[in-house]
Symmetry: C2
Subunit: 377 residues, 2 copies
C-alpha cells in the first residue's frame, strides 16, 4: 500500500543521499587517519544512527546528556557530550558513566572538582578550547590555565584527561575551500603549542578533536588531529551549500509543507510551515536576499504519495522570504503560482537543517517509512 | 517538600502575573463590548487555559487543528482555528466538527467547496482579510472577491458565514499607543466598507474579529469589533515591552537556564540555553543592540528551589547577545560575572515568548508545580 501524505509540516529525508553523505565523511576521516566520531545532534534519530554503523562508526558525539541517554538506550556505547558540563546534571552523568564510555567537556576547575567527587566510573574529560570562534572554552593562548586544569584532571580518581576539543564555528562566516583550510590551519597553529606544553608538563596523552562541517567537508590536509566530529553533513543544508561545503544533490533533508494560500497577484504561496517548524535561521542568496529556505524544483506532491518521490534540487528563484509562527511565505517568479493548488505538499530545503529537524518527532523517508527521533523531555 | 531545581532549560511562569494579565485583557474586551476569544497558541497549556475560565472565557482561538484537538480533549467546546484551512486535514476537521463548535478560516473558493462537500456538522467559516499586514488573506479592497466568497459560504450545507477575521501583525513594527490606535483605526476603515458591502449583498451577519496583542493592549476605542483574539498578552515578552504593550512587572514567563561557563575576562556567562530552547527571535534594545533575551535582576537560583522564588524584572544591561543550537552568551557589565557560579540557574526573559515556549513539554510555576502543554505529534 502506498504511504499516505503527511497532513502537517514534516521533515522528509532522502536515505540514499544520507548514506552517501555518511560514506563521504567516513572516507575523509579515514584518509585523515582520524577517528570519525560524528555529531548526532543534527539527525537525533536512532534509525539514522544505524546507517553509520555500516561505516564502522562506534563512537558518537551528542550535545546533551538527555540525547546521550537516548542513544545509550539504542545501543551506543561510546558517547562524548560536546557541551560544557552542567553541574546540575551530576547525578545523570554518574548514572550514564556506569553504562557507557562517556566523554565530558569542561572549562573550569570547579566543575572538574565536582565531577571528580561524584563520579564512580571512568570518564574521559576533554578541555574545551576557544581557538578563535569566541563562543565557549578557554582561549588557546592561556597555556598556564589549560595546563593547570589538565593536571587537575589527570590527578583525579575516575576522570581521565582525554585532550583538547575545539569547534571552529567561525567557519560558517566565510565560504570556500581556501577559507576552510585557513581556519583549520590557524586552529592547528593554536592547538599544537598547547598540546606540546601539556605533554611537556607530564601528561601522558593529549588528543585533538575538531568538528565543524565546513572544515570537515573541505579541508584536504587535517594534520595531526585525532578525531573529527562533524554533524550537519548528514543532511547538509542551504547554509552549507552557500559555504561551498556541499552541492545541490547532497541536500538530504527537506520539509514537506502544505500549501494553504495562493496569491497570483503578488506571485506568492502561503505555506503551513512557520518558525515553529523551520526555525528562523536564514541564508544569504547570491542575489543578496535572505532566505529561510528554497522550494524544491520537484513537482508538488498532490493527492497521494508520488510513485517516484524525490527531494529534487533547490529552485533558486522560489524563496521562502518570511516566516511567522505557523506561516511561511514563498515568493515565486511571475506566473509560477499557477503550478500549485491549495492542499499540495511542497518540499522546502531549509537554511539550517539542524534547527529545522528539532521540533519534529520523526522523519519520513521517500518511501513514506517513519523514523523516530529524540525530543526534549 | 521543596521542589527540586530543573536541570535543563525550562520555562518558568509566574501564575500571579499570568492571572493578572488575563484579568486585564478580559476587562478590556468587556469594556469594548467584544467577545474575548483568547488565542491559546502562546501558552498551549490546558492548565493555563483553566485560569481563563475564571474570567468567563468559553471560546478560544488556536493555530492548528492538532492544537484544537488538544484543547477539545481538555473540555473546550468553542474553538476557532485562526489559520487558513489546509485541505489535507479535511478528515480531521470533519471529526472535530462533530465534537465542538468549530470555526475555520478560508481565503479561497476551492477550499470552501471542499469543506462544504466533506463537513457533516455545522462549522463557522471566517474569511481571512489582509487589512495591511500583507501576510495572508484577501486584500481589504477586493470587495467583489470577498462578497462572492461570502455568498458561496452562506449558500453551503453545513457551513455558515461568520464574518471577517484580521491579524494586524504590522502592529509589531511600530511602538506606542498612538501607533496602535492608528493601525486599529486603519483596520476598521478598511473592514467597515467591506462589512457594509456584505450586508448589502444579503448576508445575514458579518462579525469582525481582530487579534494582535499590541493593539488589544493599547487601543482605547475598539469601535464596532465583535471579538478580540490576542494571545501573547498571557505572558508578554521583551518585544511587547519594547512596543509599550506591557511593563516589566507584566512579564510572566522566563526561561531558567543553567550557567555552564564564566568568562570574567570578557564579562560573559555561557548558558545552557540556545536556539532550540529559546528560538532565534530578537528585540532591539534602547541602546540599539539586538537581544535574544535579558537576564532577570533576581538573584540566581542556587542549590535548591528558592524559599521565595520570583521572576523579578529584566536587568537591562545583562543581554543575551548570541545563540547557537544549545549555547547562549550573556554579556554583563564589568565585574558582574563574579555574582555567578557554574551550576546556577539564571532566569532569561525571552524576546518572543510564544516561540520560547514552543519546544518545551511543560512549565514550572514559582512553587515548582508542573503544568503540561501541547506538543506537535
Amino acid at each position: 500500500m502506498a504511504a499516505s501524505l503527511p497532513q502537517t509540516p514534516t521533515p522528509i529525508l532522502d536515505a540514499q543521499r544520507v548514506q552517501r553523505n555518511i560514506a563521504f565523511m567516513a572516507a575523509r576521516a579515514e584518509r585523515a587517519g582520524a577517528l570519525f566520531r560524528p555529531h548526532f545532534k543534527t539527525h537525533q534519530s536512532a534509525a539514522v544512527g544505524e546507517w553509520f554503523r555500516d561505516h564502522g562508526v562506534r563512537a558518537i558525539t551528542v550535545s546533551s546528556l538527555q540525547m546521550a541517554e537516548y542513544f545509550a538506550a539504542h545501543g551506543w556505547r561510546d558517547i562524548t557530550v560536546a557541551f560544557p558540563f552542567n553541574p546540575l546534571e551530576l547525578a545523570r552523568a554518574t548514572t550514564l558513566a556506569a553504562q557507557v564510555e562517556l566523554g565530558l567537556l569542561v572549562q573550569s576547575g570547579e566543575v572538574v572538582q565536582e565531577l571528580d567527587r561524584a563520579l564512580q566510573h571512568p570518564v574521559q574529560i576533554w578541555i574545551k578550547i576557544d581557538a578563535g570562534y569566541g563562543r565557549a572554552g578557554i582561549r588557546w593562548d592561556r597555556i598556564e590555565r589549560v595546563t593547570e586544569l589538565a593536571l587537575q584532571i589527570a590527578g583525579g580518581k575516575h576522570i581521565h584527561f582525554a585532550g583538547l576539543l575545539v569547534h571552529s564555528g567561525h567557519s560558517y562566516h566565510q565560504s570556500g575551500v581556501a577559507a576552510a583550510q585557513r581556519i583549520h590551519a590557524q586552529c592547528l597553529e593554536r592547538l599544537l603549542p598547547l598540546q606540546c606544553a601539556l605533554l611537556d608538563a607530564g601528561l601522558e596523552e593529549c588528543r585533538l578533536s575538531v568538528g565543524d562541517t565546513p572544515c570537515c567537508s573541505m579541508v584536504e590536509d587535517f594534520g595531526p588531529v585525532d578525531e573529527l566530529r562533524p554533524g550537519n553533513f548528514v543532511f547538509y543544508d542551504l547554509q552549507q551549500r552557500a559555504l561551498g561545503a556541499c552541492g545541490d544533490a547532497d541536500l538530504a533533508l527537506a520539509l514537506a509543507c502544505p500549501v494553504v494560500g495562493l496569491d497570483s497577484e503578488r506571485g506568492r504561496l502561503l505555506l503551513y510551515g512557520g518558525s515553529v517548524h523551520l526555525s528562523r535561521d536564514r541564508v544569504a542568496l547570491p542575489s543578496g536576499a535572505q532566505a529561510h529556505g528554497l522550494l524544491s524544483a520537484a513537482p508538488p506532491w498532490r493527492g497521494g504519495w508520488p510513485a517516484t518521490a524525490e527531494l529534487g534540487v533547490p529552485w533558486n528563484s522560489a524563496v521562502l522570504t518570511s516566516l511567522s509562527q505557523e506561516h511561511g511565505l514563498v515568493e515565486l517568479p511571475p506566473g509560477e503560482v499557477r503550478r500549485y493548488r491549495e492542499g499540495d505538499l511542497v518540499l522546502v530545503f531549509p537554511a539550517h537543517s539542524c534547527l529545522s529537524c528539532d521540533p519534529h518527532s520523526h522523519y519520513l523517508d521517500l518511501d513514506g517509512a517513519r523514523h523516530g527521533r529524540f525530543r526534549l523531555a
